[in-house]
Amino acid sequence: MELVCPAGNYQSLIKAVDNGANAVYIGLKNETNARHFAGLNFSEDDIKKAIDYAHQHKCKVYCAINTYPRQTKWERWAYSVDSAIGLGIDTLIVADIGVMDYIRNKHSEFPIHLSVQASATNLGALKFYHREFQIRRAVLPRVLSLRQVEYLAKNAPLEIEVFGFGSLCIMAEGRCYLSSYMTGESPNTQGVCSPAAYVKWEDKGSILESRLNNLLIDRFTEDETAGYPTLCKGRFEVEGKVEHALEEPTSLNTMGILPELKKAGVAAIKVEGRQRSPAYIASVTKQWRKAIDDVAIRQQRVDPKQIEQLAEFAEGAQTTIGAYERSWQ
């Protein structure tokens, strides 16, 4: 089972490689990837250095070009594909069929992984991408239960990668337009969700308010931890009750079901978090390397203490295995 770790910059990539990642995924400094945040991602020079370092240590480098180009901006995606392939990237992670078509027109065999942003949640969708573009692997959306993951890993004509750890997006990825509804910028087109440029914090004495494009997302009292105003994680009024109408801030952690994922034939575990610090990447990669080796080589379950330790790195107060567990749904 391969461990695929995130890197938002060269330092993080080194940490991921040094701590045992089998592959590191990165993005270019533009909206062609779904973590298009200020100060994050790789210039072409960075990519060259990154590939050199990773390859010296037998680690692969994947590049996410996983947003959807509007026709008016098509050239930027085409350029990014050419650039990443030219620099020697091992695999492209792609969501848009136009981009896949472009890659296949130039290179009949270049490895393509289907991004989670393509929202392929069933066998028919996976067969579609395999038939049309001969993709090698698909990253499954975080909306599936363990049983559904097992079924797909067994029956799909390609490798399956699942999310193991990190922030939990509760909507089917690639099919959520809430962010552009409120700010004009979305994961699909701009590679951002609830973008920082639209966030406003207002200190009202004992209450801290977070806003997105002026709409109130949440209010925190002094004893509450104020989280980033990702719009689906705020508290809203529904039929007179103020509640987390869509989702509480929680994180995903599948370490506890790692043996089941291994047994199902899942090819790779993905760690979310290109926006995280090099220190975070180092710790999380190290723990996951140990966990996968425990399960795959030593054939034992992961120590519950280690799972607890990992939870300390999580966003929000609690971790969950998310949709993998039916009761969460």
């Binding site: 959807y68 180009p69 509007r70 026709q71 008016t72 098509w74 969501a95 848009d96 069929i97 136009g98 078509d101 392929a120 949640t121 069933n122 028919g124 969708a125 067969k127 579609f128 991408y129 038939r131 975080r142 909306v143 599936l144 239960s145 559904q148 079924y151 509760i170 909507m171 089917a172 099919r175 959520c176 337009y177 809430l178 552009s180 509804y181 409120m182 700010t183 004009g184 979305s186 699909n188 087109t189 709409l215 109130l216 997302i217 949440d218 508290r235 809203f236 009024e237 529904v238 039929e239 103020v242 509640e243 109408a245 869509l246 989702e247 949709a323 039916r326 009761s327 969460w328 749904q329």
Partner: protein
């Protein structure tokens, strides 16, 4: 206005969960409006089983006999084997055109060599994707909600609309997100597997407001919609200029939907002057309107 006069009017699949009899009554009344195209089926949640496949076919045949074009819509988020099987049934029949709302439906329809409509939840953002879908059998494209007039301009300038129709939502709440979780059940502190079909209690979903009372979203089972209602009644000529040939209305409340169909139809047929008629009249519910996406800005805004 000449181009507008050629525009067809469509009714999207009803996104809400109603009692069986109400669907039958609703579509019976829809049959006597001037609507040209009607999309039928459950697109949100497979647990909504008031209507069997055969019930939808009954309605489809009736509408068809009244001269309407019927399109069967598939579910948007397909996970379980039972959902896949149901979709397969829709994608295997040849009496009605199918709206593919997931890539799995595109897969099955192209395997079966059947023509199809690409629904708005399938991500088609550029000409390369457009041509790929066209080669697979796309006959009509329902534009993703977050694309607007500039996107269409650059995409459709080289497209022949004789071959492929372009459909854009002109009225109704917009589908904005789908989840593994059911927000209606969650609101009632119920597990999804034991949701007690709470969606039946809400004709148009549940309104979600900010803590300051601003409108935010509409929850409808596993779907999140815009709480504001798209209204492009006064932009129909602009739509036609960008080669939109089908104007889509998404159902809201029963009576209001029929009223809105009639007013859009009057506008298209040229019975009302676009420059004068900016407002929908006589609606039962209070709707806040938006048209931001068409104008390439945040979807929730309204540009006069």
């Amino acid at each position: 206005m000449a181009q507008v006069k050629k525009m067809k009017l469509s009714l999207a699949a009803n996104p809400y969960f109603w009692q069986k009899q109400k669907y039958f009554d609703f579509y019976h009344d829809i049959a006597s409006t001037n609507i040209d195209i009607i999309y039928l089926g459950e697109t949100v949640c497979s647990k909504r089983r008031e209507m069997k496949f055969e019930d939808w076919l009954d309605i489809a045949s009736h509408l068809s006999s009244k001269g309407k074009q019927v399109v069967l819509s598939t579910m948007t988020l397909i996970e379980a084997a039972s959902e896949f099987k149901y979709m397969n049934k829709i994608c295997s029949q040849q009496d009605f055109l199918v709206e593919a709302n997931d890539m799995a439906a595109v897969y099955l329809l192209s395997e079966n060599r059947l023509p199809f409509v690409v629904g708005s939840a399938v991500n088609l953002y550029n000409l390369t994707s457009f041509n790929r879908f066209k080669n697979l059998g796309m006959k009509r494209w329902v534009v993703p909600v977050e694309l607007g007039k500039d996107d269409l301009n650059s995409l459709t300038s080289d497209v022949s609309t004789d071959e492929i129709e372009i459909e854009y939502q002109v009225f109704g709440r917009m589908p904005l997100a789908y989840s593994a979780r059911c927000f209606t059940a969650r609101h009632h502190r119920l597990a999804k597997d034991d949701c007690q079909f709470k969606c039946l209690d809400y004709e148009q979903g549940i309104h979600v407001k900010t803590q300051e009372g601003d409108t935010f979203a509409q929850i409808n089972g596993i779907q999140t919609q815009s709480s504001k209602v798209t209204n492009l009644l006064s932009q129909l000529s602009e739509l036609a200029e960008k080669k939109v040939s089908v104007a889509r209305i998404s159902p809201v409340g029963y009576e209001d939907t029929i009223n809105v169909i009639n007013q859009f139809s009057d506008q298209i047929k040229g019975d009302s002057d676009e420059s004068v008629c900016h407002q929908l009249k006589g609606l039962k519910n209070d709707y806040l309107f938006c048209n931001g996406y068409w104008n390439q800005i945040e979807g929730m805004n309204f540009v006069e």
